[in-house]
C-alpha cells in the first residue's frame, strides 16, 4: 500500500469520473503532490459513475452544458472509451415535434450535426421499434456511449505516470479543517494531510463532505429508475455492447438503449424520490452498491406500459425478463445546473458536484483551469456554486426545486418558465401594493418581482399594442409589457428594483479595493455614480454594475439581483486580509424604486423639497434627498433611456415611498411597470447589455461595445487582457438586429433568444475564435415599432444594413443588422435621460 502523505498541494475527494478528471487535468497543468481519496474501492467506488447509463447526447439548449459535453466527448474519444452509436429523440405529440424543431435550432447554434427524420427513418435505424407511435425523430449521429470507469482509470494512470498523483482508495474523510475561512487540512482514517486546496467531487455525498468544512453544496440525492430487460435475440446477435442508436422517448420522459443482449430502460417520469446524503447506505450494508437503491416497482409501472407501446416487438416476449432493476441515485440541484467552483463559504474548498457522465471530463478540465488560471475557458457562470442566495442553499429549497425539476429532465421548458415551488421567499416592501395591482410575479434569486401589472390591461387597447398569435411566443408574456413601456415613454413609470444586490464598501482601503475590481476610474468626487464592467483575470466579463461614491472611504455597489450572489462572492474573495476594508451586504436593508419617464422630474419635485433640476442634480450623480419624512438616496441614472432616478430607501420605509410616488404621479399619468419593461423592452431599445445574456466570460468590454474612453492608470483584475483587446480589432461585435417585416410562418413570430443567426444562405456563423453567433436577447421595441434581437457577429457581418437569418422553431426569419456597437436605436443621443 502506498504510504499516505502528510502534505499535498491539493486533495481531491471522490474517485468517480469527476474526481479522476480533475486530478488528470490538474497534473497536466503542472500541479504536483495531488492526493486522490475515496471511501470505496477502485475502480468502482460505488458512486453514481458505477451505475450510470453512460450515454452522451451532445445537444442541449444551454451553451455551457453543450460545450462541457463536447469537450467531454473529445476526451472520452481520445482515451479510447467512446463508442459512437447515434441517437434519436422521438416525439409522440405535436408539442414535442415543436420542441424537436427547437432542438434543431440549438444544434445549428452550437454546430452539432443533427436532422429531423420521419417515423419510417426512425424504424430503419431502430428496426425493433413501432414507428406508428412516433411523429418525428431528432437524429444526432454523434450520440455515443462511454466507459467512465475505464476513462477514470486511464486518467489516474496518466497523472500517476507524471509523478503527480497519489491514490488512496478505501480512505474515509473524517474532517476538513479550516483556519480563518481557509482550508488547512484533511483528516482521514489513514492519516491527516495538510493542504490548502480540497476539491469535493463526491457526487451524492458532496453535501456531507462540504459540511465537514462548514460549506454547503446544495444538491440532493434523487432516484432515477432503470431496468434491464432481456435477453433479446436481435441485440444478442450483434455481439456488441451497443450496435443500435439510443432512443430517447421524450414524451413519456424515458430512454431505451441496448446494453449487450438487454434493452435498458430509464425514466425521469416517476414521482420525485429524494434521499438524504446521510441515509445512503455504506458499501458493506448496500445490497448492490450505495447508489443503487432497492427498486420500487410501483413507481415504474407506467413507464413499462410506455416502453411496451414503443418497443413491444422485442419487449412483449415471454423470455425477455426484467433482469436488473434499480433506483439509481443521481444529484439534483435547485436549478438543474452543476455546482462548480470555489465554495463561497470556505477559501480553497472547491466543488465539482452534480455532474452527469456526459460532462465529467469537461468539468475536470474546467475546474483545473479555474484553479490554476483563475478563470476557465468555458464560461461557468450558470454552474458557479456561488450563484445561490442564502435561502437557495437550504435543504428545504433544494428539495422543493429538485422535486419540481426532476420531471423537467426531458421536459419542454420555456425559456421564461417560472418555478412554482418555494416561491414568495423574498418580498419587497411594495409587495402588498403590487398584489393589489394584479402583478404577475417572476422570480429572481428568490425575490418576487412584478413582470407586468394586470391593472395596466386597459392600456393595451388604448395604446394599440398587438398580441402574439402563437401560444409559444405568448407564453409567460403579456402585451401589457409593451403597453407599460409606451406609457413610461409617454409620461412616467415606477418600477420595483428591490431585488438589486447592494454592498457597502468602507474603510481606509476602500478606494484601492474598488479600483482593483473595476474597469472604470473610481477616484471620482463624492456623489458620482459610476457604471463599470467587472472582469475576470482573462478579460472576460464577470459582471457590470454601478458604483456610487458616498464618501472618501465609502462606496456603494449596486448590482443585479440575478447575479448578486456571485458578485458578493467575488467582492468577498478579493477583500484585503489586513482588515482595511469592510464589505457589508445591505441588500435587505435597502429597497429601490425606479422612477423614469418624461414626467419623472415633475413627480419627484412634487414630493421632495430638494432641487431636482438638471443643474442641481445632473446625470450620473447621487444625492440624499427626503421624500416626506423618508431619507432617500437618489441616483440619477437610467437603464430604460428616460429621465429619472433610482430611489433607494430603508426597507421599512418602502411602502411610504411607494405611496408617495404613486400619489404624486397619478396626475402625470405615471403607471407601475414591471421587469418586462426594465429588463427587456426599454433596455433593448437602448442597446443596454445584460449579464448572462450579452455579457459573459467569453467576451470582454471591447467586443461588447462597453470599452471606456480612457484607460485608468491603476491596476485592476483583467487589465492586461482588456488593454490588449483595446489595441486590436475585435473578433466579434455586439449588434442589435431587427426582425424584418413579413411573416414567413403566415403570422407574426417572435424568437425568444438562443436561436442561431445564419447567413442569408443558411450557413452557420462563427468568428475567428470559433464562437458562434446566436441571439443573446430578444424582445419587442414598442417605441421603435419593431422586434429586436442582440447577437455577437464577426466583423464581416457586423455591418449595419446586412441581411441575415434567424432560425426559430423550424423556420428561418430574415433579420437586418440595425446597429453594430452600442449606440442605441432609440434616442441615440440619450437626450431623454440626460
Amino acid at each position: 500500500m502506498t504510504p499516505f502523505p502528510d502534505r499535498a498541494q491539493v486533495v481531491v475527494i471522490g474517485a468517480g469520473i469527476v474526481g479522476n478528471s480533475v486530478v488528470h487535468h490538474l497534473a497536466r497543468l503542472g500541479w504536483r503532490d495531488i492526493l486522490l481519496v475515496d471511501k470505496g474501492p477502485l475502480p468502482d467506488p460505488g458512486g453514481s459513475t458505477g451505475h450510470a447509463s453512460n450515454f452522451v447526447f451532445p445537444v442541449d439548449h444551454s451553451r455551457e452544458i453543450t460545450q462541457l459535453t463536447a469537450d467531454s466527448s473529445r476526451q472520452y474519444a481520445e482515451l479510447g472509451t467512446l463508442t459512437t452509436c447515434g441517437g434519436i429523440e422521438v416525439a409522440r405529440t405535436p408539442e414535442r415535434v415543436q420542441e424537436l424543431h427547437r432542438r434543431m435550432s440549438s444544434a445549428h447554434a452550437w454546430g452539432i450535426d443533427a436532422e429531423l427524420i420521419t417515423p419510417a427513418e426512425v424504424a430503419e435505424k431502430v428496426p425493433f421499434l413501432d414507428p406508428t407511435v412516433v411523429l418525428r425523430g431528432f437524429w444526432t449521429p454523434s450520440v455515443a456511449v462511454v466507459d467512465p470507469l475505464r476513462a477514470g482509470e486511464l486518467m489516474r494512470e496518466r497523472a500517476t505516470a507524471a509523478g503527480a498523483l497519489t491514490v488512496s482508495a478505501m480512505t474515509e474523510v473524517l474532517a476538513v479543517d479550516t483556519d480563518d475561512g481557509r482550508v488547512t487540512r484533511v483528516r482521514t482514517d489513514r492519516g491527516d494531510v495538510d493542504t490548502e486546496y480540497v476539491v469535493v467531487a463526491c457526487g451524492v455525498w458532496s453535501p456531507r463532505i462540504a459540511a465537514l468544512a462548514g460549506a454547503t453544496i446544495p444538491l440532493t440525492p434523487a432516484v432515477h429508475q432503470m431496468i434491464d430487460v432481456g435477453p433479446i435475440a436481435e441485440l444478442a446477435a450483434t455481439g456488441r455492447e451497443i450496435a443500435f442508436p439510443i432512443v430517447r422517448d421524450m414524451d413519456p420522459l424515458m430512454y431505451e438503449r441496448q446494453s449487450g443482449a438487454d434493452l435498458e430502460i430509464g425514466s425521469y417520469a416517476h414521482r420525485p424520490i429524494l434521499c438524504e446524503p446521510d441515509d445512503i447506505p455504506s458499501l458493506a450494508a448496500a445490497a448492490l452498491s450505495p447508489t443503487q437503491l432497492p427498486f420500487t416497482p410501483d413507481d415504474f409501472d407506467p413507464q413499462m406500459e410506455a416502453a411496451l407501446e414503443l418497443f413491444h416487438p422485442v419487449l412483449d416476449r415471454p423470455d425477455a425478463g426484467i433482469r436488473h432493476a434499480i433506483n439509481g441515485l443521481l444529484s439534483l440541484t435547485p436549478d438543474g445546473h452543476p455546482l462548480l467552483g470555489e465554495t463561497p463559504e470556505v477559501r480553497g474548498l472547491w466543488s465539482a458536484a452534480a455532474v452527469w457522465i456526459k460532462e465529467g471530463p469537461g468539468v475536470g478540465r474546467l475546474i483545473a483551469e479555474w484553479m490554476t488560471e483563475g478563470a476557465p475557458e468555458i464560461d461557468a457562470a450558470a454552474s458557479d456554486i456561488a450563484r445561490f442566495a442564502p435561502h437557495e442553499r437550504t435543504r428545504h429549497h433544494v428539495r422543493a426545486r429538485a422535486c419540481e425539476g426532476f420531471n423537467k429532465t426531458y421536459g419542454i421548458t420555456h425559456p421564461r418558465e417560472q418555478w412554482s415551488s418555494d416561491r414568495g421567499v423574498r418580498r419587497s416592501p411594495f409587495h402588498e401594493r403590487e398584489v393589489a395591482l394584479g402583478a404577475e410575479f417572476f422570480e429572481v434569486a428568490g425575490w418576487e418581482r412584478p413582470q407586468w401589472y394586470a391593472s395596466n390591461a386597459p392600456l393595451v387597447a388604448e395604446l394599440g399594442v398587438p398580441d402574439r398569435p402563437h401560444e409559444w411566443d405568448a407564453r409567460w408574456w403579456s402585451p401589457i409589457i409593451d403597453a407599460e413601456h409606451l406609457a413610461m415613454r409617454r409620461s412616467a413609470a415606477m418600477i420595483d428594483l428591490s431585488a438589486f444586490s447592494q454592498f457597502d464598501v468602507r474603510g481606509p482601503g476602500a478606494l484601492a479595493y474598488v479600483q482593483h475590481l473595476t474597469v472604470a476610474q473610481m477616484d471620482r468626487p463624492v456623489g458620482r455614480v459610476i457604471y463599470t464592467p467587472v472582469l475576470a483575470p482573462d478579460g472576460g466579463f464577470r459582471s457590470d454594475l454601478t458604483v456610487v461614491r458616498l464618501g472618501d472611504r465609502h462606496f456603494r455597489v449596486v448590482t443585479g439581483g440575478s447575479d448578486g450572489a456571485r458578485d458578493l462572492a467575488w467582492f468577498t474573495r478579493h477583500l484585503p486580509r489586513d482588515g482595511s476594508v469592510t464589505l457589508t451586504d445591505v441588500t435587505s436593508a435597502v429597497c429601490t424604486l425606479g422612477l423614469w419617464g418624461p414626467r419623472a422630474r415633475d413627480v419627484l419635485a412634487a414630493i421632495t423639497d430638494e432641487d431636482v433640476s438638471d443643474a442641481a442634480f445632473p446625470f450620473a450623480t447621487a444625492r440624499t434627498i427626503t421624500i416626506g419624512s423618508i431619507p432617500v438616496l437618489a441616483l440619477r441614472l437610467s437603464y430604460v433611456g428616460e429621465l429619472g432616478w433610482e430611489l433607494h430607501a430603508p426597507t421599512e420605509c418602502g411602502l411610504r415611498l411607494w405611496d408617495a410616488v404613486a400619489e404624486a404621479g397619478a396626475p402625470h399619468g405615471l403607471v407601475p411597470a414591471g421587469i418586462g419593461v426594465y429588463g427587456t423592452t426599454a433596455r433593448m431599445e437602448k442597446g443596454y447589455r445584460l449579464v448572462g445574456h450579452e455579457l459573459d466570460a467569453e467576451h470582454g468590454p471591447v467586443e461588447a461595445g462597453l470599452a471606456l474612453p480612457g484607460l485608468k492608470s491603476q491596476d485592476f483584475v483583467g487589465k492586461a487582457a482588456y488593454t490588449k483587446a483595446r489595441e486590436g480589432e475585435p473578433e466579434a461585435t455586439l449588434c442589435t438586429l431587427t426582425l424584418d417585416p413579413g411573416d414567413p410562418a403566415g403570422h407574426p413570430r417572435f424568437p425568444q433568444g438562443g436561436e442561431p443567426v445564419l447567413t442569408p444562405d443558411g450557413a452557420r456563423i462563427t468568428d475567428r475564435r470559433g464562437r458562434p453567433s446566436f441571439v443573446t436577447s430578444a424582445g419587442a421595441g414598442p417605441s421603435l415599432g419593431t422586434y429586436l434581437l442582440m447577437a455577437y457577429l464577426p466583423p464581416w457581418h457586423a455591418v449595419e444594413g446586412t441581411g441575415l437569418l434567424v432560425e426559430y422553431l423550424g423556420e428561418r426569419y430574415p433579420v437586418t443588422v440595425a446597429r453594430a456597437g452600442r449606440t442605441p436605436l432609440f434616442d441615440p443621443d440619450d437626450t431623454r435621460m440626460r
Binding site: 430487460v229 441515509d279 445512503i280 447506505p281 455504506s282 458499501l283 458493506a284 450494508a285 448496500a286 445490497a287 448492490l288 437503491l293 432497492p294 427498486f295 420500487t296 416497482p297 410501483d298 409501472d301 413499462m304 406500459e305 416502453a307 411496451l308 419487449l315 412483449d316 416476449r317 415471454p318 425477455a320 425478463g321 426484467i322 433482469r323
Partner: protein
C-alpha cells in the same frame, strides 16, 4: 393440478447487516424486500407444474399489506392467484405463521401440493412447512431438489450425503424445496403489468401468537485472519513450499 406456494417477505441485505437500535430486528429503513431464493424456486416450480398440467399456481403469504409486494412479484413470475393472510406483525413466529397458513388452507379451495422454501432467508427457522403438514396430517418432505408427478402421487427427490433419496407421497402433499430445484425465470414486463392489476384475496389471520420471542440479534464475531510468520529470508522457503503443497497449489 393445483399448487400453492407459501412465501415470506424478507429484507434484501448487503454484506453488512445493520440492526435496529434495540437490537431486536434488522434495520430495514434503507433496504428493499424480496422472497428468498428457495421460495423463488418454489414459485417457478409451481408455475411450471401448472403450465404442464393445466392447473393453477397460487401464492400465499402471511403479514400486513406491504407483503403484497412479494405476492405481486410471484404473480409477475407467472403465479395466477394470490392470497394474503392478514396479520399485524411483519414477522410472526413459525408457530403463528403455521397457524395462519393452516387456517387459510381450511378456507381456500383444496390444493394438491403445497410448497414452501426450505427456510426463510432471514429467520431461517425451517419450521412452517412441517407444522402446516402436521396440522393437516399430510405427508411432508424437506430439502427437496426434484419434483415429479405420477398420477395421484408425487415423487420428491432430495440429496443426502449417501446419495439421492426419492420419496413417494400420495397427494395432497407438502414439500419444502431448496434453491437449485430449477432456474427461476425473470418476470416479464407484461407479467409485471398483469401482476399489478391482479386482485389479491385477503383472509383474516387467526390472531394467535406463537411461543417464540426474539430477544436480541447479535452479529457473528468477526472471523479474524491469523498471521503466521513462516520465517525470514531464504530460510522461510521450505515452509512456504510446505504451505503451497498443503493448499494443492504445487504438487
Amino acid at each position: 393440478m393445483d399448487v400453492l406456494v407459501c412465501v415470506k417477505r424478507v429484507p434484501a441485505v448487503g454484506a453488512e447487516i445493520l440492526l435496529t437500535a434495540d437490537g431486536t430486528a434488522i434495520d430495514t429503513r434503507h433496504l428493499g424486500f424480496t422472497i428468498g431464493p428457495h421460495e423463488e424456486c418454489a414459485v417457478e416450480e409451481a408455475v411450471r407444474i401448472a403450465e404442464r398440467t393445466g392447473g393453477s399456481a397460487g401464492v400465499l403469504t402471511v403479514g400486513p399489506p406491504e407483503t403484497e409486494e412479494q405476492l405481486r412479484y410471484a404473480l409477475s413470475m407467472g403465479a395466477d392467484h394470490a392470497v394474503r393472510v392478514d396479520t399485524p406483525e411483519t414477522d410472526p413466529d413459525p408457530e403463528a405463521t403455521a397457524a395462519a397458513v393452516t387456517g387459510a388452507l381450511g378456507e381456500l379451495p383444496p390444493y394438491d401440493l403445497v410448497l414452501f422454501g426450505e427456510a426463510s432467508a432471514d429467520a431461517g427457522h425451517a419450521q412452517v412447512g412441517f407444522r402446516v403438514a402436521c396440522a393437516l396430517r399430510r405427508p411432508v418432505v424437506g430439502g427437496v431438489k426434484g419434483i415429479d408427478l405420477d398420477g395421484d402421487r408425487v415423487l420428491l427427490r432430495r440429496e443426502s450425503p449417501e446419495g439421492v433419496e426419492v420419496h413417494e407421497a400420495p397427494l395432497p402433499a407438502v414439500a419444502a424445496v431448496l434453491e437449485g430445484l430449477n432456474l427461476p425465470r425473470y418476470p416479464t414486463i407484461k407479467g409485471r403489468l398483469r401482476a399489478k392489476k391482479a386482485p389479491i384475496r385477503v383472509l383474516d389471520g387467526p390472531g394467535a401468537t406463537g411461543g417464540l420471542r426474539t430477544l436480541r440479534l447479535r452479529h457473528r464475531p468477526e472471523a479474524r485472519a491469523r498471521t503466521v510468520v513462516l520465517g525470514h529470508g531464504a530460510a522461510a522457503a521450505p515452509a512456504v513450499v510446505d504451505v503451497l503443497a498443503e493448499l494443492g497449489i504445487v504438487p
